[in-house]
Assembly symmetry: C2
Homo-oligomer: 161 residues x 2
């Protein structure tokens, strides 16, 4: 691994950590009532987006081959179903705690990977297919999840406070 | 430049091109009236965000040391001032055309840079300071502008149609 390659990884992981800090600050600054309200008429609540981001980031643990998911029960209410679906979901205090736990585990895993490890396959592609599609690596997961997170940050910036 | 380094660049530029395609499709699908309306009560219009993204991306041309800006007159109404500031601005049809022209010029420049060129300094840091802060490279500009664009995509997804 050349030092330039390490810098490219630092560029991307710095952005991940920055966006995680920004969104955590938004969630921390909101009361429960603010998170439970729709962000704009007919749009998602902050509560739903907190659960959604927690669930999506939890699923990054196996996708990056760091560990198993910590809270697979979040998938049904926060990925497979939309807000106000009526599907049972953990209360807001629990989801806030899960966000903190998932973020810590994921950040630790992300900080530990070297350039060569980022260039290895992610868990959704077989070793055989990866030889033909070498861009389907862990790094592509990091970048696409930065984009996913940031798309929702744009919406969370519009929470009424 | 190793082939793995080229793949890391492809991962990031693929995401740039994908997000540009997504946002261009949103703008193209909107009537002028839809872009002129506030996206949510009290929030930016699509027109403003179109001008804002065009101005920010135009400024990437010198920042990435590709070329001079094409439309510096966009800075005043779309970066230095907020929506509904009353500052004179080009009409929507003109801004739509400028978006297309800036996007084409920028995409051409982005597609042409090699890994080693991405790892070179951007225009806002001196060669001397860059020796001490080598992460302030063109690649950091690409990643941070992907994030900026994507934050606004999250908002533009909420345009009422």
């Amino acid at each position: 691994m050349s030092s330039l390659s390490a810098i490219a990884i630092k560029n991307a992981t710095d952005l991940w950590f920055k966006q995680i800090s920004r969104v955590s600050a938004i969630f921390d600054a909101c009361t429960d009532a603010q998170l439970e309200a729709e962000i704009a008429p007919g749009r998602n609540s902050g509560y739903y987006l907190l659960g959604h981001l927690t669930a999506v980031h939890d699923a990054m643990l196996p996708l990056l081959r760091i560990s198993d998911r910590l809270y697979p029960e979040l998938e049904e209410p926060f990925i497979k179903n939309p807000d106000r679906s009526g599907v049972a979901r953990p209360d807001l205090a629990t989801v806030r705690n899960h966000w903190t736990t998932v973020t810590a585990a994921l950040n630790k895993g992300i900080a530990a990977l070297s350039f060569d490890e980022w260039m290895e396959r992610h868990a959704s592609i077989s070793a055989e297919d990866f030889t033909k599609e070498p861009h389907r690596n862990r790094f592509s997961v990091l970048l696409s999840r930065i984009a996913h997170l940031t798309e929702h940050i744009g919406q969370l910036l519009w929470i009424n406070k």
